[in-house]
C-alpha cells in the first residue's frame, strides 16, 4: 500500500473532524482498499459470547489483530478453535467504530495443516468415487451368521478389546482371527492394507472388521489413505469399517461394505446374538409341536365325522356285490335249466360276471375315495374355521335351516370350530 491515503487531515483547527467522521473515514478507506484475504496466525484469548459470536485474537510473533466471527459464519465451523491453535482465516478488515478498534471479520477458519489434509481428502474422495469404489451396487451383504471373523486393528488398543468383548458376549463360541496392524503414524496405511490382504489370503474369515478407537483427525488419517481404500475394495471378504469417529466419515467408511461408527458397533453388526437366535429357534420348535398337536386332534374329529357319513355307501357296495354274485348264479342256473348242459360255458359266463362285478366294485371304491376327498374339501370344519357354527336339531338329527322347524324346548347340537355345545331352544322367532 504505497500510495498515500488522501484523508485531508491538513485542514487546520477550524476544520477539525469529529471523531465519528475520522473513524468512518478510516473504515471506509480500509474497506475500499482491502478485500477478502486469507491470513495465518495463532489463536489466543478465544471466547464464545452469549450471542454465539466468536471472538479471539490472531497473532504471530510480532503483531496481533482482534477477530470476530459472527454466529452466521461460526456455526459452519466443524472444529473447536482453541487458544494456541495455528489457523488460517478468511475475512476482511474493518473498524468497530464505537471503540475505534481495528478488527478482522472472519468468514471461514481452518486449522492449519489439516487444511491441506482436508484438500487431499476431498480430492481422493472425488477420484475414488469417479472410479466406482463407493458404488452402492458393489456393496456386499454381510453374512448373517459368520463362522469366523477377521479383525484388523491395533494390537493393544481399546478398539480390539471392545470388539472382542462384544463379539464373544454375543456369540460365545466364536472364531476370531486378529491381524494386528499399526493404525496411526508412518506406515500405518500400508500395514492396514497388508493386514486386509493377509486375512484374504488366509481365507477363513467370512467378514472383516477394520478400524480403531477414536482419535483426532490426524490419528485417523491412515483410514483416509488410498492404500487402505484399495485394499478394502479388493477384499473378497466383506468389510465393516469401524473408525471411532462418530461424526466424520473416512474414505475407508465410503469403500467398506458397511460402516460402523465405533468398533463396538461394528462387532454388534458382525454377529447376531446367539442367545436370541437360540430362543427364536426354540420358540419356533415349540410352536411347531403345538400346531401339529392341534392339527391332529382337529383332523381326528374330521375323520370321525367322515366315517359317520360314509357308512351308508359302504353298505350299498356290499349289497351290490351280493347282487352280482346272485345274478351270476341265477344265470348259470337258468342256462343249465335250458337243457343245453353247457356247464363250461355257464361257468365261464359266471366268472365273467363276477369279474365285472369286481370291476364295478373297484370303480365304486375309486368313486368313494373321490367322494371322501370332496367331502373333505366341503367339510363344514372349513367354514367353522371362520367362526360360523352348525346347528343340528337333536330331535331329528337334521341341520337347522328354518327356525319354523324347531320347537321351543328342542335340544340343539351346536358345532363350533373346536368342540360342540348342547343348547335348548328358549324362544323362536319366525
Amino acid at each position: 500500500m504505497e500510495e498515500r491515503l488522501d484523508l485531508q487531515l491538513a485542514g487546520g483547527r477550524a476544520r477539525a473532524l469529529s471523531v465519528t467522521a475520522l473513524v468512518r473515514m478510516v473504515r471506509e478507506t480500509l474497506e475500499a482498499n482491502l478485500g477478502d484475504f486469507w491470513v495465518v496466525g495463532e489463536i489466543s484469548n478465544a471466547r464464545l459470547a452469549p450471542s454465539n459470536h466468536f471472538y479471539f485474537t490472531l497473532k504471530d510473533d510480532r503483531a496481533a489483530i482482534n477477530v470476530v466471527m459472527f454466529h452466521r459464519a461460526f456455526q459452519h465451523v466443524r472444529f473447536k478453535p482453541e487458544d494456541g491453535m495455528e489457523v488460517i482465516v478468511r475475512g476482511r478488515v474493518s473498524v468497530f467504530e464505537a471503540r475505534g478498534a481495528l478488527q478482522l471479520y472472519a468468514e471461514e477458519i481452518e486449522p492449519r495443516g489439516v487444511g491441506a489434509l482436508q484438500i487431499a481428502f476431498d480430492q481422493l474422495k472425488k477420484r475414488l468415487a469417479a472410479e466406482g469404489l463407493f458404488d452402492q451396487a458393489r456393496k456386499r451383504p454381510l453374512p448373517f451368521l459368520p463362522r469366523t471373523i477377521g479383525i484388523v486393528t491395533a494390537r493393544h488398543g481399546a478398539g480390539l478389546r471392545d470388539i472382542l468383548t462384544v463379539l464373544l458376549g454375543r456369540f460365545p463360541n466364536l472364531h476370531a482371527i486378529v491381524r494386528p496392524a499399526k493404525v496411526q503414524g508412518e506406515g500405518a496405511a500400508s500395514d492396514i492394507a497388508d493386514a486386509i490382504a493377509d486375512l484374504n489370503r488366509d481365507g477363513r474369515a467370512e467378514v472383516l472388521i477394520v478400524g480403531r478407537g477414536g482419535g483426532s483427525l490426524e490419528d485417523l488419517w491412515a483410514f483416509n489413505e488410498e492404500k487402505v481404500a484399495r485394499a478394502i475394495f479388493r477384499s473378497a471378504i466383506p468389510v465393516i469399517s469401524a473408525v471411532g469417529h462418530e461424526i466424520d466419515y473416512t474414505i475407508a467408511d465410503f469403500v467398506a461394505d458397511a460402516r460402523a461408527p465405533t468398533p463396538t458397533a461394528a462387532a454388534q453388526m458382525a454377529v447376531p446374538s446367539r442367545a436370541e437366535l437360540k430362543e427364536r429357534v426354540a420358540a419356533a420348535g415349540a410352536a411347531l409341536a403345538a400346531g401339529v398337536r392341534r392339527e391332529v386332534s382337529g383332523a381326528r374329529e374330521t375323520l370321525d365325522d367322515l366315517a359317520g357319513r360314509l357308512r351308508r355307501p359302504d353298505g350299498r357296495l356290499r349289497e351290490m356285490r351280493l347282487r352280482a354274485g346272485r345274478l351270476a348264479l341265477a344265470l348259470a342256473h337258468a342256462m343249465r335249466a335250458r337243457g343245453r348242459g353247457d356247464a363250461l360255458a355257464a361257468a365261464h359266463l359266471r366268472d365273467r360276471l363276477i369279474a365285472s362285478g369286481a370291476a364295478s366294485l373297484a370303480a365304486r371304491r375309486h368313486h368313494l375315495a373321490e367322494l371322501a376327498a370332496r367331502l373333505d374339501s366341503l367339510s363344514p370344519l372349513k367354514v367353522l374355521e371362520r367362526g360360523y357354527a352348525a346347528v343340528i336339531n337333536s330331535r331329528d338329527g337334521r341341520a337347522v335351516l328354518d327356525a319354523a322347524r324347531v320347537e321351543v324346548g328342542d335340544e340343539l347340537d351346536i358345532r363350533v370350530k373346536r368342540g360342540r355345545l348342547r343348547a335348548r331352544t328358549i324362544a323362536r322367532e319366525v
Binding site: F144, L145, R147, G150, A154, R155, H156, G157, A158, G159, L160, R161, L164, T165, L168, F171, N173, L174, H175, A176, I177, V178, R179, P180, K182, V183, G185, G187, A188, D191, D194, D198, L199, R201, D202, R212, G213, G214, G215, D219, G244, R274, L277, K278, R280, V281, A282, A284, G285, A287, L288, A289, G291, V292, E295, V296, G298, A299, D376, E385
Partner: protein, 92 residues
C-alpha cells in the same frame, strides 16, 4: 441347493414359515405332518449351526518370508503390552 450347505438365515426363515402355515391351518393333515417333520429337522440343523463353531481367538502374523502364521490369542490376559514387535500404538 443340493450340495451346498444351506444358510442359517434361510433355514430359520423356512422354519418360521412352516410354523405360520401350520398355525394358519392351511395344510392338509399329511402335509402338516410332513411340514412338522421338516420343521423338526430344521430345528436340529439350526441348533447344530449355532453350536458347531468352537470358541477360538487367534493371532495372525506374517513372517519376513511372507508366510502366514497363527497362534492362540487370549484377549483377557493380553491387556498389558508385552514385548512389542508392533509399533507401540498408544492405547486409545
Amino acid at each position: 441347493m443340493a450340495a451346498k450347505v444351506r444358510k442359517f438365515e434361510d433355514e430359520l426363515k423356512d422354519l418360521e414359515s412352516i410354523v405360520n402355515q401350520i398355525d394358519a391351518g392351511e395344510l392338509s393333515l399329511e402335509d402338516s405332518i410332513a411340514a412338522f417333520e421338516r420343521g423338526v429337522a430344521l430345528v436340529k440343523s439350526l441348533n447344530q449351526k449355532l453350536d458347531e463353531v468352537e470358541r477360538k481367538v487367534e493371532l495372525l502374523t506374517r513372517s519376513a518370508a511372507g508366510v502366514l502364521e497363527t497362534e492362540p490369542f487370549e484377549p483377557a490376559a493380553d491387556d498389558k503390552p508385552r514385548e512389542t514387535k508392533d509399533n507401540g500404538d498408544p492405547p486409545f
